[in-house]
């Protein structure tokens, strides 16, 4: 069936006043021979939408691909939601033209014309997506049988999903099974809770949908969301299963207290950590470990090795509560015992503030801000603790029977890329030809040795056997923007392995991760992408006959979507893919393309821009905007009627990382005077939705700049800016500053060639 492009132009929301819409319609009919062209004063209204639907439904259809020239593609998505197999291209005449350019001007009209051309060209080249249709497993694997793991298992099973729960210890319960009492769990939040875990463990053990493996390890995890194949090593031999998604709830371990000698650890048996004290409390009355005498005075050191750049730089959020709880143990065991608590600041989030207040009311619990500067053994068998920086205006010396170090939490996670690098270097030590290489490899092995044997999931992924960690060893991919999400699609972190948290929060966290896991399998079943391009049916195809096995795509994919065969040919796993197009940008052979997003498509859009000759003194500037932050930021600038240069032409990219440098060559050779890229912030506190996209774009850009210099083109004609969505007011300035700089450079000498 020959394709019929329908162009629907809205004249509402000020578009009709700013632009000659009839002229645009004429352009669609004339230049592009569009099958249907309509102008409507309110296209998103019932009338306007009916008009489009009528054309689609006509027999034969008047149009089978739609170009909707109206508002931003981020607006009125409900109104313009047609059958998802229909190609729909939105041309942003409202936010990007009518609301940001002076009405009635020639330059404004030409901008709109260019956008219309680009939209029609893109629609012409686009094809309807063929969703990936593969059989998927809806079973969910939960790794770790602590409070987070058993909660996640119960949540998923409760929602009707089969669950496989794997625990390395012989019994379920994790850390919470070892504590004497839990933090208050119900109003008025002033009383410690007795264990609430037993009931939950029993529910798990007898749940018809949950299969529990204890004393078990994961030997290998291969495949992709919906199709993970897991091999287990269990007491009754090897076992295997296919699961759809994975929840990593492997919990935490206490910070290594032997590194806290400056706070007295190791000095005496009477200096213990909070975890050790909890064990003592669970076993019986708390007594002085050195001689078994009752504890008359105890001192708790808060932030022992936490919020300290030399140890754990973060707050573990539970140590203050643990201390208040343990102070209660000591006080209830001996009504005359005195408990001193020295803190940086006491953090008892949420309702736990009430527990803090209750603990404060106890007459013999003494709290102060301060810092412990020394712990010494005294002749009388007590420990002398010196506290500085208190509001009392003097250094304090407190002589106590017991010093408790409130140490923080370290996640039980494994850094996949580091483990892979370790293994690669171990191999090099054995196999490298040159002595220098072997020495360098040996050095790296030494540095990375601490990752040895930390594997949990043993992923069969090209980029390493486990989840990459982000900061401080946590496998979360972005704490605020993407909770639960790791950098491996379909694998979600929950509980203390994701962020330091207490049992109650871990239970809520488990629910969140379970929802994510369920979403992952359901979306895989429908062939859709998960967050952030949730619901996207498209995925890249690889024209492998032309692949040169350069491995750029497999290396650069942030999500490990691509494995490699022995030769280095990429092996695509559609359900691991987040559809960002970073591989498309990486490929020098341009063999990776999406049905509605391809190297050729963007190149054709660039070619559709009419470039005035140099005598007209109207430069053209191409602006690639990241679809996630920069593009909506420019929309917001439009809502605020912010003006910017009429010479820019915007092309949205799925991610700045999908920038293929051929587009820059195309633009400059077409006579376009400058190319501006605006993407998310990168670096340690990155905001890129695809983790490394904008950083990769920056790297590619610096490579191109060298080429430009050889072509005697000023490298300043290319620029990358980092912008977050809330900085929308900066964007027009940024564009104008770049336009001014391009103006100073003068016209592109390749204009007209």
């Amino acid at each position: 069936m020959p394709e019929k492009i329908g162009v629907y132009i809205c004249s509402g929301c000020g578009i009709g006043e700013a632009l000659d819409v009839a002229g645009l319609a004429k352009l669609a009919r004339g230049e592009f021979k569009a099958a249907a062209v309509e102008i409507h004063p309110c296209l998103c209204g019932a009338d306007g939408v009916a008009l489009i639907r009528r054309d689609l439904a006509a027999e034969p259809p008047r149009a089978d691909k739609l170009v909707i020239a109206a508002c931003s593609p981020r607006a009125k998505t409900d109104a313009f939601a047609f059958d998802r197999r229909t190609v729909v291209e939105r041309v942003n005449l409202r936010e990007h033209v009518a609301w940001s350019q002076p009405p009635g001007e020639d330059d404004t009209q030409r901008m709109a014309e260019d956008y219309l051309r680009m939209g029609i060209v893109k629609a012409q080249k686009s094809a309807a997506p063929e969703p990936a249709a593969e059989a998927v497993s809806r079973k969910i694997l939960v790794v770790g049988g602590g409070i987070a793991g058993i909660s996640a298992a119960l949540e998923a099973a409760g929602a009707g999903y089969d669950v496989l729960l794997v625990e390395k210890e012989p019994q379920l319960g994790g850390f919470l099974a070892t504590v004497k009492r839990r933090f208050p769990g119900e109003p008025p939040y002033t009383e410690l809770a007795s264990d609430g875990l037993k009931g939950k463990i029993e529910q798990v053990l007898y749940h018809p949908r949950i299969r529990v493996w204890t004393s078990a390890k994961i030997v290998k995890t291969s495949g992709q969301p919906g199709q993970f194949d897991v091999t287990l090593e269990t007491p009754s031999g090897a076992a295997g299963d296919r699961v759809g998604a994975i929840i990593l709830a492997t919990g935490w371990k206490p910070y290594d207290a032997t590194r806290l000698a400056h706070l007295g650890y190791g000095l005496s048996r009477d200096v213990v950590t909070n975890v050790e004290l909890e064990r003592m409390a669970a076993a019986g009355p708390i007594r002085r470990p050195s001689d078994g005498k009752p504890v008359g005075e105890a001192l708790f050191v808060q932030c022992a090795g936490s919020r300290d750049p030399d140890h754990l730089p973060y707050c573990s959020s539970v140590c203050c509560l643990a201390t208040l709880k343990q102070a209660h143990y000591i006080r209830e065991g001996n009504p005359e015992a005195k408990v001193f608590i020295v803190y940086k600041d006491l953090r008892t989030p949420g309702q736990y503030e009430r527990f803090y207040r209750a603990a404060q009311d106890d007459p013999l619990t003494f709290l102060t801000k301060g810092e412990v500067s020394a712990v010494v053994r005294r002749a009388d068998g007590k420990l002398g603790v010196t506290v500085t920086g208190t509001p009392l205006g003097a250094d304090l010396v407190v002589n106590v029977d017991l010093v408790v170090l409130a140490a923080g939490m370290v996640p039980n996670s494994a850094d996949g890329p580091a483990i892979r690098e370790l293994k690669d270097n171990q191999l090099k030590v054995l196999q490298s030809d040159s002595a220098a290489q072997r020495a360098e490899a040996a050095r790296r092995v030494e540095e990375l040795k601490r990752h040895e044997g930390t594997e949990i999931l043993n992923l069969d992924y090209r980029q390493g056997p486990d989840l990459p960690v982000l900061e401080h060893g946590f496998p979360d991919s972005h704490f605020i923007c993407f909770p639960y999400e790791t950098r491996r699609t379909g694998i979600y972190a929950a509980g203390a392995v994701r962020a330091p948290m207490d049992g109650a929060r871990a239970e809520q966290d488990a629910l969140g991760a379970a929802m994510k896991a369920i979403q992952a399998v359901e979306m895989a079943a429908r062939g859709e992408a998960v967050h952030p391009r949730a619901g996207d049916l498209t995925y890249p195809s690889f024209f492998l006959q032309r692949c040169t096995q350069c491995k750029r795509c497999t290396e650069e994919c942030s999500f490990g979507a691509l494995n490699e065969d022995a030769k280095g040919t990429p092996q695509f796993n559609v359900f691991r893919c987040r559809r960002c197009g970073i591989c498309l940008g990486a490929c020098p052979e341009r063999i990776i393309n999406f049905p509605n997003y391809s190297v050729d498509m963007i190149a054709s859009m660039i070619k559709a821009i009419e470039v005035p000759d140099e005598f007209e003194e109207k430069p053209r500037i191409l602006v690639f905007l990241c679809e996630n932050d920069a593009y909506p930021a420019l929309d917001i600038a439009g809502w605020n009627r912010r003006r910017y240069s009429p010479f820019v032409r915007v092309i949205p990219l799925r991610c700045l990382g999908s920038l293929n440098i051929v587009w820059i060559a195309d633009a400059l050779s077409r006579g376009i005077d400058g190319v501006l890229l605006v993407g998310c912030k990168f670096g340690d506190n990155y905001q890129c939705h695809f983790v490394t996209g904008s950083e990769l774009a920056n790297r590619r850009l610096s490579n191109v700049k060298e080429t430009l210099e050889r072509l005697r083109l000023e490298p300043e004609r290319l620029r990358l800016e980092q912008l977050a969505i809330d900085e929308y007011d900066r964007l027009p300035e940024l564009i104008d500053r770049f336009a001014a700089r391009v103006g100073e450079l003068g016209p592109n000498p390749y204009k007209g060639f």
Partner: protein
């Protein structure tokens, strides 16, 4: 600071504080809002925040030996603004009471005055004493024949003997208590000498200049100023008449037109008016204003009783009514209670506070 402090909380002291007015002490979480709102606080001295922490930790010697606890006017600004409801104003009231008790000599009087259980004893002693005088004591003739006088039943020389003795004991009580207190202040580092600084302190007391800066409970400033000046007037009249009578220069009863009588009546009226203000203030919304304890009521009731029975007995004497003796008897009992308890009751602050203001140079320093 180089100073090192070995911490040994006095749990008995702490529990006593919590029991007697400072019940919310432990709620303080050291945010220093109180220091920010307190007119007495300076950048160098986080007052009353530091004292709150010292009190919380039961550091008895340190906090009771701090003259700054006496600088507080109990204006209630800190209590009104405390986000945690720790009521620093009340805690300071309790601390002052503890200080008076701690430094009291003889110690048992310090305990009695602060203990409601000892109240019957404090009443019984003067009742018996003056009852005995009334029933069995010698009777004296009237100075104005035909008119009944108090001296008929309560001869002046006997009363003088009683009250001069009590006064001597009270002065001794004050002297020992103050001496102990000042030594404690010195140990805590309050450096200003007392005598040269006494004049500025008295000037401040006379004008209530700083008291006037209190925001939360302005009625206290006015009430206290009136009560204080009235009290000073009454004390002056009482002393002059007592000494004058001894010297034979003054003869009671004085005529209503006598300058001393005018001063006495005026002072009594001023005290009553001031007490009315204070009383009304204390009965306002109890959540906001300072909590009133037995310690406060004891002083307020006795003082009001003294002035009211004084006025009433004067009135009855003018009318020559028989009930005058009974009222005068109550008046004497109350004066006795006021006098005897002076170094151990709330009234003691007139000495401690004055000295503390001088000793600390008027600033909540350290």
């Amino acid at each position: 600071m180089a100073e090192t402090l070995v911490i040994q909380p006095d749990t008995g002291f702490l529990r006593e504080l919590l029991r007697s007015g400072g019940a919310d002490l432990k709620k303080c979480y050291q945010c220093a809002t109180c220091s920010a709102v307190c007119a007495l606080s300076s950048e160098q001295a986080p007052f009353p925040r530091r004292q709150m922490l010292e009190a919380q930790w039961g550091l008895k010697d340190r906090v009771l030996g701090d003259p700054a606890i006496w600088l507080c006017h109990d204006c209630g600004d800190c209590t009104a603004h405390c986000p945690r409801g720790a009521r620093p104003g009340d805690v300071f009231g309790a601390l002052r009471r503890e200080a008076i008790r701690h430094f009291a000599w003889p110690a048992f009087l310090g305990r009695w005055v602060n203990d409601p259980r000892a109240l019957p004893l404090l009443v019984l002693i003067p009742v018996l004493l003056f009852g005995f005088l009334w029933a069995f004591g010698p009777e004296a003739a009237s100075t104005h024949p035909g008119r009944t006088e108090f001296a008929n039943e309560f001869p002046v020389p006997l009363l003088e003997a009683v009250f001069f003795t009590i006064s001597a004991a009270v002065i001794a009580g004050f002297a020992v208590g103050l001496k102990r207190s000042v030594r404690a202040w010195r140990d805590r580092g309050a450096a200003s000498p007392i005598w040269p600084n006494l004049l500025p302190a008295l000037r401040e007391i006379a004008t209530h200049r700083r008291f006037a800066q209190c925001g939360a409970e302005r009625w206290r400033y006015r009430g206290h100023l009136l009560v204080m000046w009235g009290f000073v007037g009454l004390a002056a009249v009482g002393t002059v008449i007592g000494l004058g009578h001894l010297a034979g220069a003054v003869h009671t009863p004085l005529a209503q037109s006598h300058p001393l009588k005018i001063l006495a009546n005026a002072s009594g009226a001023v005290v009553l008016f001031g007490l009315g203000l204070v009383w009304a203030g204390r009965l306002q919304d109890p959540a906001r204003r300072a909590r009133t304890t037995y310690f406060d009521w004891y002083f307020l009731v006795v003082l009001a009783g003294v002035v009211l029975t004084g006025a009433l007995s004067e009135l009855l004497r003018e009318r020559q009514m028989e009930a005058m003796y009974a009222v005068y008897f109550v008046h004497l009992v109350l004066i006795f209670m006021l006098f005897v308890s002076a170094p151990y009751s709330k009234l003691a602050h007139l000495a401690y506070r004055t000295a503390a203001m001088a000793a600390s140079g008027g600033r909540a320093g350290r």
